[in-house]
């Protein structure tokens, strides 16, 4: 398979066609999905026996992501202001890309930010005693680069891995050096029923007035605006809360079209108008509203995966 290039090579005419069909009411996606429909995926958890938690996900387009979570006991060094710093370390490796690639940086920052959001209380659970804590390493591997932006795939896999993560049970007293039960069956899950579930991040894009989930690479190339919306919830039954929004590079293909826009007739005008400039704030708000209801469904399906494994 050829390595994916950062800029999609699509001809101006194709872009224009793609864009106009996505802007229709109702829109037509190239793969005939509905705007909120995800591509089929396969997910499994607890696949790596030597980790505390793991998950694997295979996306319909061949993208495959493996996430492993390991924990280690580390003495707590409190900083002057009593903050818990560097308790979670997240590594993202995208096959065939340097580790300072913008994509890897973006994915890593998104996961870190949403995982450690103030309402998550994650670091509280990682504390063992006043002097020791669990240091958690989350290693995310994109084994085969997917054809589309791996943001959604990666966040869903990480969510499953964290939900399958178990910590050994503490047997010692609170002020002793920590000792643990070596019976794996007695271990406690990191995320329990009362806790906020690990976050998910959805990629959402807008073309005209239409909003699409789980976009393909071609759809990203003609988008007006692409947002990564991170959501969290206490239970799969509730409507999730927005815990972070980031903007992605969008419409790089759209800009290509601008150069040739004069040749594509009436379709070109629409492309020209959208390849530059931002989006109205109403569009942004609409994107986020819609991701809430879609997010609820996604949390529901993830719950299904977890339940099926117990």
């Amino acid at each position: 398979m050829a390595p994916p290039t950062s800029t999609t090579l699509i001809s101006p005419a194709e872009l224009s066609y793609l864009r106009s069909s996505l802007a229709l009411n109702p829109p037509i996606r190239p793969d005939a999905r509905s705007p909120t429909q995800f591509r089929p995926l396969v997910a499994e958890i607890d696949i790596l026996p030597s980790t505390n938690g793991s998950a694997r996900m295979i996306w319909g387009d061949g993208g495959e992501c493996v996430v492993g979570v390991k924990v280690e006991v580390e003495p707590t060094e409190l900083t002057a202001d009593g903050k818990r710093k560097n308790w979670v370390e997240i590594g993202v490796e995208v096959q065939g890309q340097r580790d300072d690639d913008p994509l890897g940086v973006f994915l890593g920052m998104t996961v870190t930010e949403s995982l450690l959001t103030p309402s998550s209380t994650l670091t509280e659970r990682l504390a063992i005693t006043s002097r020791f804590h669990w240091k958690m390493y989350i290693d995310i591997l994109l084994i085969t680069p997917p054809l589309s932006h791996p943001g959604t795939l990666l966040s869903l896999s990480t969510n499953l891995a964290l939900r399958s993560t178990r910590l050994p049970r503490l047997t010692s007293e609170a002020d002793e050096d920590p000792m643990f039960d070596d019976d794996w069956d007695a271990s406690v899950p990191l995320y329990q029923a009362s806790n906020q579930l690990p976050p998910i991040t959805l990629l959402v894009l807008s073309v005209g007035d239409n909003i699409f989930f789980d976009p393909t690479k071609e759809e990203l190339a003609v988008a007006d605006c692409v947002l990564a919306v991170s959501l969290a919830t206490n239970s799969a039954k509730d409507t999730p809360k927005v815990i972070g929004v980031r903007t992605l590079e969008s419409g790089s293909g759209g800009i290509v079209t601008t150069a040739g826009a004069k040749d594509v007739g009436s379709g070109g005008a629409a492309v020209e108008a959208t390849s530059m400039g931002g989006v109205k704030r109403t569009v942004v708000k609409k994107i986020i509203k819609e991701s809430l209801s879609v997010g609820k469904e996604v949390f529901g399906s993830l719950q299904g995966v977890v339940d099926a494994n117990h």
């Binding site: 002057a80 202001d81 903050k83 818990r84 710093k85 300072d100 913008p102 940086v105 973006f106 890593g108 920052m109 870190t112 930010e113 450690l116 959001t117 103030p118 309402s119 998550s120 209380t121 670091t123 509280e124 605006c225 947002l227 969290a232 409507t239 809360k241 927005v242 815990i243 972070g244 929004v245 980031r246 903007t247 992605l248 590079e249 969008s250 800009i255 290509v256 601008t258 150069a259 040739g260 390849s275 530059m276 400039g277 931002g278 989006v279 109205k280 704030r281 942004v284 708000k285 986020i288 509203k289 809430l292």
Partner: protein, 311 residues
């Protein structure tokens, strides 16, 4: 790992200062939630660059309090290197770097870290939509931002709330870079200004921090990390006021949405846009000042004599 091309400190490493007791933090004069701080923005302070600008927030700063200071310089449009593949539009790159002495606590290194790369990419995304890149095929436009000083609040989020320091840096960088792009005379559809707003829960005056009923958070425009209070969530936008369009949105922290009572996301985003709109006025002035100077200069050139005779 040591960098042999730079002069390094002692090989065993050094530790930042630890104070005996808490150093007295200067208390900022209280500010109304919708009061904005004054910004100093000036263009063309780096003459070798095609365009440049310098931003300071707040200006003038109360003595002894940290400020945000950054410089932006723009080079281009200039030809892409021969090794680069054909590009039908200008390629924009943005590089943001913190100076080693710009942040509290520990000195920063010279090698770019993940935070700097992340801000660079966000800055690039915010600006590229304002520039008519199709007007400059086969060219590169490079933006360099140097953060000389910042207000702090870069430690990352924790259970006590989110940090707004990086958001302030990004908003400042967007405004400063947009001024530099305009100063370089690069064709744009509009100028982009950055604005920050946060939902802040302030401890009631004289009250106990562990009070059972916490006060409802309020939207604070242009929040400063030194303001105090617990920041529940925060948002930064890149906003083109002339077209009423958003080029960038970055939020942190949990936000309630309409069906849970109180649409905090809308409040935050509108707040950030209000800030950005006010910043835009400063941006307009800085760019206009430069334009008038340019007109005056070109008039001088026409009237003035030629150079030394070249034979």
């Amino acid at each position: 790992m040591t960098d042999r091309r730079r002069i390094n400190g002692p090989s065993d490493g050094t530790t930042p200062i630890v104070y005996a007791g808490v150093p007295k933090a200067k208390q900022l004069p209280p500010r109304a939630p919708d009061a904005l701080r004054k910004i100093f923005l000036k263009t063309s302070l780096t003459p070798p660059a095609t365009g440049s600008s310098f931003l300071e927030l707040p200006s003038p700063a109360p003595a002894g309090t940290p400020t945000l200071k950054l410089t932006a310089s723009v080079y281009g449009p200039r030809p892409l290197p021969p090794s680069a593949p054909f590009s039908p539009h200008a390629r924009l790159t943005a590089e943001l770097k913190f100076a080693p002495f710009s942040t509290p606590h520990k000195r920063r290194g010279y090698v770019r870290d993940a935070v700097e790369r992340d801000l660079s990419v966000q800055l690039q995304n915010a600006l590229v939509k304002s520039i008519k890149t199709a007007a400059y095929p086969k060219s590169g436009i490079d933006i360099f931002i140097t953060v000389l000083d910042c207000e702090g609040g870069l430690d990352g989020d924790d259970d006590d709330g989110v940090e707004v320091g990086l958001m302030n840096v990004l908003a400042g960088a967007i405004t400063c870079a947009s001024a530099a792009v305009a100063d370089a005379g690069i064709e744009c559809v509009d100028l982009v200004s950055g604005g920050v707003a946060a939902l802040v829960r302030r401890a009631p005056a004289g009250g106990d921090a562990m009070d059972v009923d916490l006060p409802a958070p309020v939207v604070v425009l242009d929040p400063s990390p030194a303001d105090g209070g617990q920041v529940v969530s925060a948002a930064v936008v890149g906003y083109m006021a002339g077209r009423d369009e958003v080029t960038l949105l970055w939020t942190k922290g949990a936000m309630e949405t309409a069906d849970q009572g109180g649409d905090e996301l809308d409040l935050l985003m509108d707040g950030a846009i209000t800030t950005a709109t006010a910043v835009r006025l400063v941006l307009n002035e800085a760019v206009k000042e430069r334009l008038l100077l340019g007109i005056a200069r070109s008039r001088l050139k026409k009237e003035g004599g030629g150079d030394v005779l070249m034979s």
